[in-house]
Amino acid sequence: MSGTTENTATESFRQRLARHELRLERDETHALQVNVGLVCNLSCGHCHLEAGPARSEMMARPVMDEVIAAATRLPFAVIDVTGGAPELVPELPYLLRGLAPHTPRLIVRTNLVVLEGERGEPLMELYRDLGVTLVASLPAANQAQTDAQRGAGVWERSMAALTHLNALGYGMPGSPLELDLVSNPSGAFLPPPQLQAQEKFRRDLARRYGVSFHNLYTFANAPLGRFRLFLERSGNLDAYLDKLASGFNPCAVSGVMCRSQLSVDWTGRLYDCDFHLSRGINMGGEERLLRELSELPAPGTAIPAADHCYACTVGAGFT
């Protein structure tokens, strides 16, 4: 009830940066996020990409070869494979085997549910054998909020997948097989502070399900895609945009992910981040292909700013 915030609903993100004498520009680029397509077995209510079973966008082998070639010629400390559900892309093992030798940290983002059944077993073993870090989506440490965001039954299936991954060594204390969780709020509210949420997730998941993980990351939902439709439909859009803008933290600008990563889509086009990808805002404001990239963008290169960037600068930020 206490505390006053500035009313900022009408101020664009560009204007806000200018008022604080800030510029959105690149630092050293060290990460490549690879979006292999929008096909997914789930239709999560917060998905900025509107991924789902009806989508057909998928990375084919020629583009995978371009990604592997880029990983060979450019020094990416992190390569982060996302989707959609990457596991539904048939050539994913080919891509991972091609990338693993060329980066010290290869990440796959998984929705967990996709790992069940016959498809999942060999993939989990491949992840283990390549030393892939897994970043799994889990919005909450309870069934109600998880199923509300991701669909009925997802909670139980996610717990089963996490149990299976723990049995393989993923997420266990001291294990080099890293298993991290990502929590996005299951509604029109901001995420809790990361360390407090991590402590609660760890306690609740261990106590009730015997599940272990390494790190939890909490991120605000971007007002894009399916989440924006929910905001509009539920009458929460204006209040949510105002909440993001009111919570603008100038100190968070220096740590936003777009300053240090590139994002490439399933066609090989480059963006500054996955949110810009969803809006079709090209890297640096002009269409570029990964295969044409002979060197990483120089520090100081401008990044196009958009109003959804408020989601990355609210509170502690989106790093």
């Binding site: 009830m1 206490s2 505390g3 006053t4 915030t5 909450a140 309870n142 109600a144 909020q145 709020p185 509604g187 509210f189 901001l190 995420p191 809790p192 502070p193 407090q196 949420a197 609660k200």
Partner: protein, 110 residues
Amino acid sequence: METYYDPKDLGSFAEIGKDAPELAGKFFDYYNEVFAEGDLTEREKALIALAVAHTVQCPYCIDAYTRACLEKGSHLGEMTEALHVVTAIRGGASLVHGVQMRKIAEKLSL
């Protein structure tokens, strides 16, 4: 329809200090300090506030602390359990006065 309670009024709470700034300042300083992380977490304090908000039946507080509880990582099951705690105390506080009723009745009765 006009009502005495308007959700937008919550955002104007600070205006209460316009004609008594020192008192308001002391109140808000105290308020913010109370809800800061201490031996209890901010999440636990928000759950207490939500439950008490229901016993004092303050719509502003219910609105504010429902949001605060969600943003501090509580879920509806925990929030509902917190309401039952204060409801049990509130009901119990009525019921335990029945002991007084019984003592008076016994004293008056043959």
